[in-house]
């Protein structure tokens, strides 16, 4: 494989749209935290974005083929790091999700595991050389994603665990899952639901109940949902002049999970729709890159990123507009938070990596 890759083939258009969304996010973080104890975190977010960009370029020059060769080691490393969280993790708000690193930083491995899972699934399906999936392949592919997912569930972190699911789904779908298989799995999942409910933590049950009937307990669990709906709704078509839901702190977590609600309140239906459009353009551009990928593995990698990104957007914005329960999943590229920003840019780095090698063959 010749080293005839160049940054001319880098997807500058995609990067432009991504950076526009990031910029809107930084402005909104600043606006939402202006008079709170979080004031100034938008500067930190800028550092994360800068770091993410550097990481993206770094990942993009590594050959993804080389990464795929070593993915089994990476996978083992991922499982080991999740294990270390379960054993040594810092308990925070009732869950072990973080490992304290020397130097006072916190590390949440479950975000990085996503990247490795995307590669692992891509590698698995790229190596499969048949049009239709056999049951044993189906179970194996499921296990690749299922094992880390169960470990994250044990932390417990239902939200992040769910974000692994689209990686498996997109892999199975593109890998040639049969309708019969899909149907059987969906039915089995449906049967397992009551059992799963039984194993949910109390706060998770409460979130689900409050999603079903947000007015049942407006000051309790339904409070976040209700305040989010008010924030979005009071934005109207052109945005609310006072922006009181965000600025008077009625909206919880306006710079992290509910940043889309804060943005919608300030910029109204027109602004929110424009933001959705930006995300849509990014996703369409990504799928286009998947189509032009040099090989099956490249397509799987890019589509894995598309799946995770789409799932995040659906669950987060769906939560903000009251279609989805509160799960604590951030809005990629906008929500404040280092792990989320770095994951997104490293994932984009892999996409760039694939794209820059589209003419390699």
């Amino acid at each position: 494989m010749a080293r005839n890759i160049s940054f001319r083939d880098f997807d500058w258009l995609l990067l432009t749209f991504v950076l526009i969304i990031c910029a809107l996010g930084v402005v909104e973080i600043r606006s939402a935290t202006l008079h709170t104890k979080f004031a100034g975190v938008h500067i930190k977010q800028l550092y994360w974005i800068g770091g993410g960009l550097a990481g993206m370029f770094a990942v993009s020059v590594l050959n993804y083929q080389m990464l795929l060769e070593r993915v089994h080691w990476m996978y083992i490393g991922a499982v080991a790091s999740l294990m270390s969280v379960l054993v040594f993790g810092q308990k925070y708000l009732g869950a072990r999700r973080w490992v304290k690193l020397p130097g006072g930083n916190h590390f949440q491995p479950s975000e990085w595991v996503k990247l490795i899972l995307i590669l692992a699934v891509a590698k698995y399906f790229a190596d499969l050389q048949q049009r239709e999936l056999s049951w044993s392949d189906f179970v194996k592919a499921g296990a690749i994603v299922g094992v880390p997912m169960l470990m994250v569930l044990a932390q417990p972190d239902l939200g992040t665990a769910l974000t692994y699911l689209p990686i498996a789904i997109i892999g199975l779908f593109l890998g040639g899952v049969r309708w019969k298989q899909a149907l059987i799995v969906v039915m089995l999942a449906g049967l397992a639901m009551p059992l799963a409910w039984h194993h949910l933590k109390d706060y998770q049950k409460q979130r689900l109940v409050s999603f079903m009937a947000p007015d049942a307990d407006p000051r309790g669990a339904g409070y976040h949902v209700a305040q989010s709906l008010i924030a979005v709704g009071s934005g109207g078509i052109w945005g609310s002049s006072s922006g009181s839901q965000t600025h008077l702190a009625f909206l919880p977590e306006p710079h992290t999970d509910f940043i889309f609600a804060a943005f919608s309140e300030e910029h109204g239906f027109v602004g929110a729709l424009a933001l959705l459009l930006l995300y849509f353009i990014v996703l369409m551009r990504l799928t286009q890159n998947a189509q032009t990928a040099p090989d099956r593995a490249g397509t799987f990698i890019v589509m894995g990123v598309v799946a995770v990104l789409t799932f995040h957007i659906l669950v987060n914005i769906g939560m903000v507009v009251g279609f989805m329960p509160v799960t604590g999943i951030p809005l990629p590229l906008m929500s404040y938070g280092g792990s989320s920003v770095l994951f997104m840019f490293l994932a984009l780095g892999m996409v760039m990596n694939v794209r820059m090698r589209r003419f390699v063959n």
């Binding site: 790229a126 190596d127 050389q129 048949q130 049009r131 997109i170 779908f173 593109l174 040639g176 000051r219 309790g220 305040q227 709906l229 008010i230 924030a231 979005v232 709704g233 009071s234 934005g235 109207g236 078509i237 609310s240 006072s242 009181s244 839901q245 008077l248 702190a249 009625f250 919608s264 109204g268 239906f269 929110a272 729709l273 959705l276 995300y279 849509f280 996703l283 369409m284 799928t287 998947a290 189509q291 040099p294 090989d295 099956r296 397509t299 799987f300 589509m303 598309v306 789409t310 957007i313 659906l314 914005i317 769906g318 507009v321 009251g322 279609f323 063959n361």
Partner: protein, 653 residues
């Protein structure tokens, strides 16, 4: 089979794109639903979230006596609050808070736990009406305990030791049932309203109107920025009573330690000058929040401290009723020439009725019958008049009916008649019952205020006033017309008759009367004693040591005998004899007279502050033996130092 580098099926990739499109349309629909179709609803909800109406509490009006001295005031009372928006561990601070506020740590923790499920912006009410040093504790620990805060509200400050308590009444939070009544529909839960006495009667005058302030608050309930709109509170108007604090003090002192009631009234206007009932409660206990135990104690006390006996006790008037009998007898032309020989009792309708003087009064006419309180005379008079005529005059004089005094829950008493008995007991009136009624026993019961009003009417040429405690001049327009406080009804009474009766009453306090020990030298008091059985004499003999069955002493009197300035009624429960009640009444009358006498109005005050006095003296004549009477008027610069009068009700100056 296809190769490792074979491209994936483009159909599935396109399918993914369509799935993404559907997801985005779904999200866009979600936004449209909230931001376009239901935008008004959510805008209103946001408005409701951030704009809050904060009430500005209106202080209640003061209550003043007839010369403007304060009887009831307000004081700023602080309540300690625990704010929960600060990021402090409240349970860890609980012990320090408990120590500073003199509370139990467990109590503080219980309150925190109790409020745990309530919204964060709602503060926890830790302790009401905190003391000064608790307040300074909060002030001093602002940095260590930022979660502590206080709010101020005006509370009622009542005089000490239940001074005038029954008349004033007390306030409390408006109750659930009250809110359901039409007259209280404008009140909000938590409003403080009058619950008894003038606090209840004149609540609409005293209460004032709360103002409000529209403020923008954040999610912690903290005010942000300037208020949007402010409507100031209208304080309640002061209420001026007809009560004279000096006379009230005299009445309270007179009855201290005894059970019963004293009322003093101006018989010309119906202005109540003093009103006491004993035993008493402390209305300050109600000003914050009365505990259940204390309330139960008040309600179950057999001496009924919550009852205002001056207007609510319904008891047999005893011999004081003889004045009404005398009036009826005179008006009917029966009493003028009635002479009775009393030998300690007489037989009527086959039953012997005894006189209270077992040896008898001898020959008795109307005058002697009054000052000696001869029962046989009035038995005879009652027999001659019959219950119909007695009832007519007594009813004309207001017995058995409410007087219309401006206090809540006045009792009406009973003036029996043939119809009354038929209506209430479905029985015929027995003629023998009339004889008992003749001396104020039997079925007749009166309240002290009723009895006082009847005697006042007899002493003032039949002038029936409506007793009232609020100064009509200070009341809002319309009040008087609706409540008829200043209405006067004239009962025609023959002037020779009431002169003779009041002259006879004047002799009650002389050596030949029934209450010589109550005599006050130099004060012309006319009155009538009475003692009324609580139970029959036979029952009483069985329970000789039961004080509750002792006879009640009564006295109704006025001064001066002609055209009186003040009329006083005393009910001395368990006082046995009317002369003891008379002594209480004369204490009040003496205080009244003393006060009148030291008023400087009786002297001619000149504009320069000097007082003109006249004087007579003798001069030895020029030759030394004759004496010459000289006279003249002098202008003297008297250091005007009025004797000390109360400046306010006890505990309020």
């Amino acid at each position: 089979m296809f190769g490792r580098d074979e491209k994936l099926s483009p159909i599935r990739l396109t399918a993914v794109q369509y799935v993404i499109l559907v997801i985005f349309l779904f999200l866009a629909y979600g936004l449209w639903r909230l931001q376009v179709s239901q935008s008004d609803y959510y805008s209103a909800a946001a408005e409701k979230n951030r704009i809050r109406n904060v009430p500005i509490l209106a202080p209640r009006g003061k209550i003043l006596d007839r010369s403007g001295r304060t009887i009831v005031d307000n004081y700023p009372s602080f309540t300690a609050l625990l704010m929960r928006d600060s990021s402090r561990d409240l349970n860890a601070d609980a012990s320090l808070i408990a120590q500073g506020l003199h509370m139990d740590v467990k109590e503080v923790r219980d309150k925190i736990r109790h409020f745990a499920s309530m919204p964060q912006f709602q503060p926890i009410y830790l302790k009401e009406d905190i003391t000064m040093d608790e307040e300074s504790f909060i002030e001093a620990h602002k940095s260590e305990l930022p979660e502590l805060a206080t709010i101020m509200a005006y509370r009622r400050l009542y005089p000490l030791k239940g001074f005038l308590a029954h008349l004033i009444g007390y306030v409390g939070e408006v109750s659930e049932d009250m809110l359901n009544q039409a007259q209280f529909e404008l009140y909000d839960p938590g409003d403080v309203v009058g619950k008894s006495g003038v606090e209840l009667q004149y609540n609409s005058v005293l209460m004032g109107k709360n103002g409000s302030r529209q403020v923008v608050v954040n999610s912690h309930g903290k005010e942000v920025g300037k208020p949007l709109d402010e409507k100031p509170a209208e304080p309640g108007k002061p209420l001026k009573l007809t009560i004279d604090v000096d006379l009230q003090i005299a009445a309270e002192e007179a009855i201290e330690g005894k059970n019963g009631a004293i009322i003093a009234m101006d018989p010309h206007t119906g202005e109540i000058l003093a009103m006491v009932s004993r035993p008493v409660f402390d209305p300050n206990d109600f000003a914050v929040r009365i505990s259940k135990g204390e309330w139960n104690k008040l309600v179950t006390d057999p001496d009924k401290p919550l009852l205002n006996k001056a207007i609510q006790a319904q008891l047999a008037p005893g011999s004081t009723f003889k004045i009404i009998m005398a009036t009826a007898g005179w008006q009917e032309g029966v009493a003028q020439d009635l002479n009775v020989h009393c030998n300690g009792g007489a037989e009527f309708y086959g039953r012997r009725f005894g006189c209270w003087v077992k040896t008898g009064h001898g020959e008795v006419d109307l005058t002697k019958a009054i000052y000696q309180s001869c029962d046989v005379f009035f038995y005879t008079l009652a027999e001659k008049l019959g219950i119909g005529r007695i009832s007519k005059y007594a009813t004309d004089l207001g017995l058995g009916q409410k007087t219309g005094i401006d206090l809540p829950q006045e009792a009406s008493g009973v003036m029996p008649s043939e119809e009354w008995k038929l209506r209430n007991f479905r029985q015929k009136w027995f003629a023998g019952e009339t004889i008992s009624v003749g001396i104020g026993q039997g079925a007749v019961t009166t309240t002290p205020v009723q009895l006082m009003r009847a005697i006042a009417a007899i002493s003032t040429d039949g002038r029936m006033v409506v007793p009232h405690v609020a100064d009509p001049a200070g009341l809002p327009p319309g009040y008087l017309e609706i409540n008829h406080y200043t209405d006067v009804k004239n009962i025609p009474i023959d002037s020779t008759g009431w002169n003779l009766i009041t002259d006879a009453m004047g002799r009650v306090l002389l050596p030949e009367g029934t209450a010589p020990s109550a005599h006050v030298p130099g004060v012309d008091i006319a009155g009538k004693t009475g003692s009324a059985q609580v139970v029959s004499l036979a029952t009483r003999a069985k329970h000789q040591n039961n004080e509750a069955l002792n006879q009640n002493g009564w006295f109704v009197g006025f001064t001066p005998r002609r055209n009186p300035d003040v009329v006083v009624a005393v009910l001395f429960e368990g006082g046995e004899h009317g002369k003891l009640a008379a002594r209480l009444a004369t204490q009040v009358i003496k205080a009244y007279v003393d006060k009148q006498r030291r008023q400087p109005t009786k002297m001619v005050e000149k504009s320069d502050g000097k007082v003109e006095i006249g004087s007579l003296w003798t001069d030895p004549g020029a030759d030394g033996d004759g004496q010459k009477l000289q006279g003249g008027r002098f202008s003297v610069n008297l250091p005007k130092q009025p004797l000390p009068l109360a400046t306010a009700a006890p505990g309020l100056n």
